[in-house]
Amino acid sequence: MTDHELMWRIAGGSGDGIASTSQNFAKALMRAGLHVFTHRHYPSRIRGGHTYTEVRADSEPVRSRGDGYNCLLALGDSFARNPKEGAYYGDEEVKPLAENLDELNEGGVIVYDTGLLDADDIPDFEERVEENDWHVYPLNLREIARDHGREVMRNTAGVGATAALLGIDLQYFEELMAESMPEDILEPNKEILHYTHDMVTEEFEFTHDLRVPEGTHDEEQVLLSGSDTIAYGAIDEGCRFIAGYPMTPWTEVFTIMSQALPEVGGISEQVEDEIAAAALALGASHAGVKAMSGSSGGGFALMSEPLGLAEMSETPVVLVEAMRAGPSTGLPTKPEQADLEHVLYTSQGDSNRVVLAPGTVAEAYEQSRLAFQLAYGYNIPAILLYDQKIGGELMNVPASHFDREPNPELGAVTTEAELEEAPHGPGGKFYRYRYDAEDGVSPRSIPGQKGGHFLVTGNEHNQAGHIDEDPTNRVTQVERRASKLDAIREFLDDQGTQTHMGPEEADYGLITFGSQQGTVAEAVDRLNDAGHSVKGIGVSDMMPYPVEEMTEFLESVDEALVVEMNSSGQFRGLTQKELGRFGEKLSSLLKYNGEPFEPAEIVAGFEASIEGQDVPEQQTTYVPAAGD
């Protein structure tokens, strides 16, 4: 973090183009040589309501949303209806301005559209501006857009205005517009962009000192979301079949795959429900194709039945679970990490599955590939567990990160030549589930292969797949299936999939999993800068759990704080269950208000925890270690 980082927030109503405008803004800054990171906030409705996106930009790599923000572009919500006083959804009209003031940092810049927003409707606006030393630039963006094009182009006027105030070169926006807009829309947009920029430069005296930082990239960058990288990892790993049912936020991966797969000769199926979706993925995989499905919490609940079948039948498949706040439909568009236990233990019987939780947008690409390698290499279902935050945030990643070879290997399968030599049962069936399988992995045959027919069943079965309730067979098969997880643990240990942060030796530890990794990394650096002795670890392997690595980590520190977005400390619970000790060393910092952590909240929570004080007043919860 530098002193001059930009944290720009565009706010308005859903359906007013906030997402696309912020995406272009982030891309423009990336092209200008900066590192960028976006944070999305949107309600579960199609049009209107309060929505915003933050773009944080810095010359140094950016790992989180940051603390608050320092520049607001408040557009009017064109779908706000004048609600009666005391109406359920509140005073919609001024929301894009009023709702964002709490997080605006001292000395911040405000640009708002006087064409649709009236600051006089916010009771204490003037006082707050003065108190916080905010610099306000009221502009009739609606009128400018209407005069030079169409009213809907208010976004472009707003971008032109903030570009002038922050000193951003317009060429980046022009290029992006030219790439995405047809001629008849491009021209008025360009005119509005320049008109607003020039007008602001000429007519306003700039009282603020915030300017866009300068930066350069050593190599070409791309701007991607976690949903993009999960999809691209799957495609590069040879996945050519997806089946799904729409549900936020999983829909993003489903959409990207559905558009990309026909281009590479793959198949996407939108089906009647999530049970069918997961079952289709099993069917395609059984017939010899790399396949995936997925959903979010409620939809994933329906998949628990086919997931169990995949475990018992050892049919490889990758499922993605995009967490949002629950229970039930919860907060449909807000992030939470409370489906961890659901994903680990759903479905009847002992769990034989892989669960991976990527920590960053870039990591989601590797983990997506890894999920396929493990699923198909070990004939086991693998689940990629992420959340709305990682799925929707955009980050710049070097393009070379994706310059990898595709991997079409189908994993643990037989060839027809091998089938000729392989043992078969007395009825003629191939021994698909061999007792003597190395690492527990018994290769499968694919329907259509000569000499390969066998029976798949969700019942306990013998080597040929026949239903078999013999106790000795039962024990052998249970132990063989479980032993695959040991082999996978060994494989993952060699890969080094956990992310270590801060110094090697430290007194205290910060532990997290999944999407909070970047924010925790930032907090670790800040704490060390402030004189604390702290290291951190971002864990991505949920099952099998990295027992050795975590034992070493916890033995090396006096205390550790587990940071996660849920109210029950699920990851802390998993850690204690897997390690069987350290209860006295582990405390929790939890957040479950529908927003991801900000680094300052983690810093404050940590300082309070080591000093034995209450966490300062904020929307996080501190839970002390056992025995405290």
């Binding site: 040879g238 198949i267 079952a279 790399k290 003629g428 259509g448 000569k450 027919h453 969700g458």
Partner: protein, 312 residues
């Protein structure tokens, strides 16, 4: 050489090839109608000339789900009601496979009813055999979706207040391009219908009347049955959809009054299968996807070359 050389291998197929040399221990009751399905399917299979290794038989759960234990081919004994989504994806992954799904009336018309409707409307090129005995068998005799109104069981002690499902009408309305009903007591007709169903290029639904001598003692053995295509009283033309709907309604109403109408209710040979539709709009490759993973010369595309530009 193809990675799937069992597919399309031309030779005389012996009925015995589909019969396990080691008979599994029977889990069906003596006199069960399921034996009739098994017998008919074993007779039908050699007639369509498919090798055991190119057939995928996907079943649900229940007595009917055990069909593939008695049958030598690729088998997938899946979960209650879910045979269709598994089967149709396997067909999409490798359209050259002979894919058959099978299950019971509870499995197929109850818990799997949603999948039945959607698989029929998509018109996947596959055969779906529903063992219809009007009862839940393996869970010991509860009322099923096709049990008659007023049927008493331990879970419906006062007699069912529900009208039964009308499977033939449901299949027709949903879009199945081949709809037939046959009965275990007539293996010859059953065999002929199964051969036709498997050869049909589209979703072929066969409602297979099977008696349950253990839990549905009151139920008829579905005799005397009448073949609507041969009978002088009906002479039903299965290519006429409106007539098919009327005939299906009549058969479904009459069944509970002792009139067992069987035969081909609807046959639409012109409707393209789902794979053909999907290929026509460019959402499915012409060659089987599954083959690609065994083709060393296939050039796999990667996102770096094809998708990254839009993110720069």
């Amino acid at each position: 050489m193809s990675a799937f050389s069992a597919i399309g291998e031309e030779r005389e197929i012996d009925r015995e090839e589909f019969t396990p040399t080691l008979e599994p221990q029977a889990t069906w009751c003596p006199g069960c109608g399921d034996f009739g399905v098994l017998k008919a399917l074993k007779q039908a299979m050699p007639e369509i000339g498919r090798n055991p290794d190119e057939v995928l038989l996907v079943t649900g759960i229940g007595c009917s789900g055990k069909l593939n234990s008695y049958f030598e081919c690729y088998g997938y004994h899946s979960i209650h009601g879910r045979s269709l989504p598994i089967a149709r994806a396997a067909k999409l992954a490798n359209p050259e496979l002979e894919v058959i799904a099978a299950g019971g009336d509870g499995d197929g018309y109850g818990i799997g009813g949603n999948h039945f409707m959607h698989t029929a409307r998509e018109n996947h090129d596959m055969t779906y055999i529903v063992f219809d005995n009007e009862i839940f068998g393996l869970t010991k005799g509860q009322t099923s979706p096709t049990s008659p109104k007023g049927h008493k069981s331990k879970t419906q002690p006062h007699g069912s207040a529900k009208d039964p499902i009308r499977p033939l009408s449901l299949a027709l309305t949903s879009g199945a391009s081949y709809v037939a009903r046959t009965a275990a007591v007539n293996p010859n007709q059953a065999k002929e219908i199964l051969v036709e169903a498997m050869q049909h290029d589209g979703f072929a639904h066969v409602d297979f009347l099977t008696q349950c001598p253990t839990w549905n003692k009151d139920a008829r053995q579905y005799v005397p049955y009448i073949d609507i295509n041969d009978s002088e009283d009906y002479e039903h033309d299965p290519t006429d959809k409106a007539a098919a709907q009327e005939m299906a309604s009549e058969a479904e109403r009459g069944l509970y009054e002792g009139e067992v109408l069987t035969g081909r209710f609807y046959v639409d040979s012109d409707r393209p299968s789902y794979s053909e539709e999907k290929q026509a709009i460019g959402e499915m490759p012409e060659e089987p996807l599954a083959e690609r993973y065994f083709d060393d010369d296939y050039e796999w595309e990667r996102t770096h070359d094809m998708l990254l530009d839009r993110h720069k």
